[in-house]
Symmetry: D2
Subunit: 345 residues, 4 copies
């Protein structure tokens, strides 16, 4: 058994961490931190947990947390984690940070899209937590920059195809759609039920911060700078994310080559499922799970591939992948705590 703390436990990603860790056979959750709900039972904030997690939320005290934790999950807005992580690492605690603070190797990219970085020295040390791609590094990691939801959903199908040079990296277009929980639990007009319900919209069309994150990893895979078109959209649903990805394919590339590439790449990855020919996944089929389901279609008319990739933005796109990374880091079975049977609807 290891001991874990969650800082930012009452946001949507944090609460999902609480759900998954509570079910994890090798983890004891010792501390739940929530600034807003300090001294209140977690189950007061989420009544679903009444009788299951009645533990009191606490305000953040890094000493106290470190004394009772082998690993700390941080589910906070960016900028806050970089102020805490150095201290936690020094105290010998391993950290999985769900913000953007430790996702970039290149500090300039981070600072161009976020803000000045106060813990630059740790960026090289941090491992990008895309579990299937960086599993070797993750096994040794002390600090994990857990990926964004859009990058997770986009990169899992793209990285193997780029590495195998089956698609032209200069032609990648990612049209992404997310449920509302991706916007977090904070209140705003943009998440008001009446503004979202029965409507559909694009947002941040001119530049979303996940673009440089996706490009950094794709460039790493391609061995050359890659620039993409990325457009996020908001779907009137709570959970779920679907990316429709377009790219030009080389002259000899066909359905079978693509299929072999993906199935080989993920032969030992329990959470990536490649759909049968002509079958495309929908978000409902991964709701509440850590799966990334991938379908694709090779269009010989246009010599383009279309890829459909789905995840639950709160699970594989956030808390689930964080737990998967914990499993890698501590030598547990990769699926531990993540193998609940999904709901049919």
């Amino acid at each position: 058994m290891i001991k874990a703390a969650v800082i930012g436990a009452t946001g949507y990603a944090g609460a999902e961490l609480v759900r998954l860790l509570t079910d994890h056979p090798k983890v004891e959750v010792t501390t739940l931190c929530s600034r807003q709900y300090a001294q209140q039972p977690f189950s007061f904030v989420y009544p679903a947990f009444a009788g299951i997690v009645d533990q009191l939320c606490e305000s953040v005290d890094l000493d106290r947390i470190a004394q009772k934790a082998d690993v700390v999950f941080m589910a906070l807005p960016h900028k806050i984690p970089m102020g805490m992580v150095p201290d936690l690492l020094e105290k010998g605690v391993r950290v999985i940070d769900l913000s953007a603070d430790f996702r970039f190797k290149d500090v300039q990219t981070y600072e161009a899209h976020y803000e000045p970085h106060s813990a630059q020295g740790l960026l090289k040390k941090a491992v990008y937590g895309l579990s299937e791609i960086y599993s070797d590094e993750l096994r040794e990691a002390e600090l994990v920059g857990n990926p964004g939801c859009y990058p997770t959903c986009s990169l899992l199908p793209l990285v193997p195809l780029i590495k195998a040079q089956l698609i032209d990296p200069a032609t990648i277009i990612i049209d992404a759609k997310s449920g509302v929980s991706g916007a977090g639990r904070g209140v705003s007009l943009g998440t008001h039920f009446c503004q979202v319900n029965d409507s559909f919209k694009a947002y941040k069309v001119g530049g979303h911060r996940h673009t440089p994150e996706i490009e950094a990893i794709l460039s790493d895979s391609a061995g050359q700078p890659v620039f993409i078109s990325f457009t996020p959209h908001l779907v009137p649903m709570t959970r779920g994310m679907l990316c429709t990805i377009y790219a030009n394919i080389g002259g000899n590339v066909d359905e079978q080559l693509i299929r072999n590439c993906l199935t080989t790449a993920y032969a030992r990855s329990p959470f990536v499922r490649i759909m049968p020919p002509a079958v495309m996944p929908e978000t409902l089929q991964v709701r509440g799970t850590n799966y990334c389901d991938i379908g694709f279609y090779v269009d010989s008319r246009t010599r383009r591939i279309k890829i459909i990739s789905v995840i639950d933005n709160l699970v594989k796109g956030a808390a689930g992948q964080a737990v998967q990374n914990l499993n890698l880091m501590f030598g547990f079975e990769e699926t531990m705590g993540l193998d609940g049977v999904p709901c049919p609807i």
Copy 2:
């Protein structure tokens, strides 16, 4: 380990059974029957189960089923089970029937609201599967008539209050609201997305078949005939049920008496949670779980009690309660297979 079969496995209640039984540590699912999808993998119908339940669906063959099952779950429209159950029982298999066929002790009530009963002799033998109320009988049961969703949600708060004579049985009004999955997976204009979305309606206002089912059990509890007003409504959501129940209270009845009655009645019932004073449950907090959460308000102005009771109609209202009954019947821990941690949203 016991062996179980599910007949009608691809309807919504059946699929939910598959979900729960797959996660049950003492159950092996040997047979999934589906007329419509015979010879197709279960995961073809519900792609969420790809790699988890790829078992082929079969058409019904009672001999074959009985050879490989200690217990059979029937998730079929009423009338069909009564034609199969006598045969199954004879073959030594225990049966949990989710239809209305074995819910009534009184054949005339059944026949007045459904149709001629071809296995009347079994009605006395069948146990009504409201787990918390009939747990003693259920431990010995060979045939369980699993309750309807509306009766489950209504009876759990009402039975103890009626037995304790705290409310006037002649004044009970149940205003019930259900998600759309209660209507099943069959296609009809009434479940077309565009007819349901962003709308709210009552249905079967003049008489829903769950009325006599509720009245039968309330009469049993009251020791006298009870007649209620019951009105079901359709909510534009997939899962969830909420009953708002009104009844007159006696002169000396107050919040504390009610609270004591309910907490005492359910002190050993892991799936009934009584809300704190002034807190009312919402359906989201029981989504995907086997809980029935109950809140109430004693209105001294009108001398009436208002009770708010919520369940997930597919779990405690169908498949979950069926698994709870299996646990009782086979001497397993009551929560076995039903203790997955709920989603926060």
Copy 3:
């Protein structure tokens, strides 16, 4: 042509007023006030109105408003209107107030549920704007207290039945369900998409401010004090309201008596539609319209009536009824500006 101003034009009820008044053949909208969006075009807040209502929003200046208005609509939170209305009336402007400030004849009732009233002298002068019931008084009104949505939906079926003594006023139970727009455009956790979507809940079970409003009018109709049970619920939809109303009926009361009473009462009311026998209305059928559709069922088993009444909470429950009152006050055809053909879905 008359000139109208809307104060609070960018809230949901205010914006609905803008929609209806823009379409009204006898009204010119001279001023739109919005504290939050002063100096911004109305169509910036609601892009649907681009090219239709690009008028700038203004901050409130009663002198300026009064110079350009024969009538002022106030779509503001209670307490604010009572500070403005005396001044406006003095300037010779007629006022239709959508808040609760001028709905009560009895200042003590208002103050018990809201707060100290600073314009008590106007309460007797104000007319309760339930158009069908108080049409005579409304024709002469200078100040209208426009009804709440729940009272409108509840009172329209109840008032005639109470006046005709067909139901027992001591037994009235109103189980009410509303779409989310009733909570207004202000942001809060309670209207966050993820907290509302795919869930259903009751709220303010122990006391909603519309209870005394309903009771005041029912008492007026009954000629005796009436106390009711009222429970509001939140439906995951944008617009729409449905009330399920229960009451005991006298010994000789039957379907025909009820039907005669209602059809007679509303024979000249273009916005009240009585459903055919055994047909119940759903909210979708009044979406965007000023109709109140009423169905009912007389249950001879329990000697109770069940009434189903639906409105669009933003139209007949707020802005539409306000425009209907304007029509009465200024001698226009009652349906003017309110006769757009509804959407089928």
Copy 4:
């Protein structure tokens, strides 16, 4: 006043036609045909229309229809109209067909994606009803092939840009999202509330029949064959469509050139609204209206344009554009019957 008939009046597009035509000041609706609901009042099928359109639905009798109609709208599945149109034209009636039967000039394209055409002789005579682009031809048309919803939403922004050679036609990718009403009123598992709600999916990824329709018009505009990538998706909402369109731009193309092109092209088109810089439209803002709202972003990093285009699939994507075409054909003001003020939410 002209006389109009609607064949297929009780499907979603047909019912929307009924809504719009009922509000049209120059149209009298003489006949509503519905096979399924013959001899039943239209308001029985759509209770919103009670007291507004109580007219009986009829079965199809072309003689009878023609005697009472100057124009016939056909809102039927493809293949049926081609069997009726020749007869109607011969009887001197003008026809606006909402199916695909008369959208293609090239019979081979139609037959490749639909089926053998029995009225090929009329294809050259038929005018493609994209109102803004083919307005001159539409003024003289006797037979209109009303466009599909996806083509309308895609072509309005693309045609001017292609004609002006601002984008590279070989690089066009259309990622399209539609509400469920686009699937029609027929029942199927795919439109079951529980299969759609809180989910998002792509469909017909390998080939949707609107692809050749879009390509035909784009080729016409480009003066050369154009092949596109087109992917439709299903959004859990009733009405609305959004297309996200990507294309490479020439070296000198910038935001201003694009803006000039579009605003010039649609300077006299009351139903096309070009959004201000950096503003993107969402579907809610065109709900129930005939608008096509267009926003765009020129990405200098990738030298691609992103276009966001929204319509109400049942209005501008079907019935509204059909009425707009009627206005053109009969010399009415283009906005007649289509200028209802939109709902703010």
